[in-house]
Amino acid sequence: MEKWDKKHILEIKEFDREEIETVLSLATSFKEISQRDVKKVPALRGKTILNLFFENSTRTRTSFELAAKRLSADVVNFSASSSSLTKGETIIDTIKTLQAYHPDILIVRINSSASLSTLAKYTQASIINAGDGKNEHPTQALLDMFTVKEAKGTLEGLNVLIVGDVFHSRVARSNIFGFSKFGSKVTVCAPPTLVPYEFEKIGAKISYDLDDAIKKADVIIMLRVQTERQESSFFPSLREYVDKFALTPQRFKNAKKEAIVLHPGPINWDAEISSSLKEEVHPLILKQAENGLAIRMAALYLVGTRKRAL
């Protein structure tokens, strides 16, 4: 039996290697279901899943919703405005109110970092973190690792390069914890304003020079660049950012021939990645979306079929 005893999926930092492997191996089997004519299996029949999004996200929510439906669960989308986090009904009230419907799984996205373990105390349901502030986005890291494993055959001993707004990125944090557990080395590359200097303590190397860092990379994860960061002076202009940190054909030439490029999406072409590289890099990035569905099915299956405490 594969290792699994988690009720919630909150943070990759609390996963061990075997647990990550369990999710990835399950995802391999779940991929096939989406290729059938009848894209549905009865594994979670009769289970109620709530998609609880305090922050907008069409992609992640759709992916979770489809995953739940393909496992035959009843899924309801509950989009709460984040204003309810600051006044009136507290989020804990929301969770308690929803508990009255006896959901089995809550999929939560919220803009407050590290807030989910507290919420878990107020519901009997399993919680899956669909992104909590700047903290973690575990299913994104799992699907990234899954995609890398498919492409590279292994997660061990790789040089993983994460490029972009690491400071504000839950995807970066989850990936740093995830890849490190397999003995891969993670380097984060961004302007110094967007890299917490403390990241060395959590096992990532820091680089401010993409031209240099790209040479050794086996996996390059490009993060989304937010133009708001320019307004708060994290970088002086998008132009200068692109000049230093975009993946251009020229830079990509310096990478290893077998290096792969991932992006959590949606991509700002010509900001993070030159659109002239579209043919080379887009197919794998699209595959991430497909793999994301399988990973989320695996995640829902694992927490949804846990034996209920008597």
Partner: protein, 181 residues
């Protein structure tokens, strides 16, 4: 549960003979080879299906379509058994509509696995007929299910178990009865 002494009920030679006989029976029942597809239930049913495919090729010269089925997601006890069982691959690369599906497993016991397999098959299409082939029928059915092709009926007590071992997964071919202590 621990099991005490094991008794071998089928030897490697027995299994070989049985599989040849069963293959012939399948062909006898459906002479139109184009209609037959083989589906083995993970994991030992899949190994047996693979062997039957080879035997039929040997006899008739043509290779029947072969698929594997993992029924975990269709189990009726998914949330009761926990921790979540591993889900293996399901692979059916052909159309089953209008075909005669020969569903293959190693041991027929309560019938619940077969119920799950039938549900899963229906999600892939509408076969003309589904036939069940098992190496061993040990009785104790809990659902109204019977096999069309049985290798050997082995009457057992509730506290006994029948285990089929195959070269592909267990390094030898045999079937044993073991009694729970």
């Amino acid at each position: 549960m621990t099991f005490s002494e094991e008794k071998i009920v089928l030897s490697s030679q027995d299994i070989k003979r049985i599989l040849y006989r069963l293959s012939h029976q399948v062909l006898e029942k459906t002479p139109n080879l184009e209609k037959i597809v083989l589906l083995g239930i993970q994991t030992r049913g899949a190994h047996l299906a693979c062997r039957i495919q080879k035997i039929i090729k040997e006899i008739e010269g043509s290779q029947l379509p072969l698929g594997v089925l993992d029924i975990t997601l269709y189990r009726d006890d998914l949330t009761a058994i926990g921790p979540s069982p591993l889900v293996k691959e399901t692979k059916i690369n052909f159309d089953i509509n209008g075909k005669v599906v020969v569903l293959i497993d190693d041991v027929l016991f309560t019938g619940r696995t077969i119920r799950a397999a039938l549900d899963e098959i229906m999600d892939f299409g509408r076969p003309e007929r589904v036939e069940l082939l098992v190496l061993v029928d040990r009785g104790h059915r809990e659902l109204p299910i019977r096999a069309d092709f049985v290798g050997k009926n082995i009457p057992t007590a509730e506290n006994e178990s029948v285990e089929v071992r195959l070269q592909e997964s267990d390094a030898k071919d045999e079937a044993v009865i073991a009694r729970a202590e």
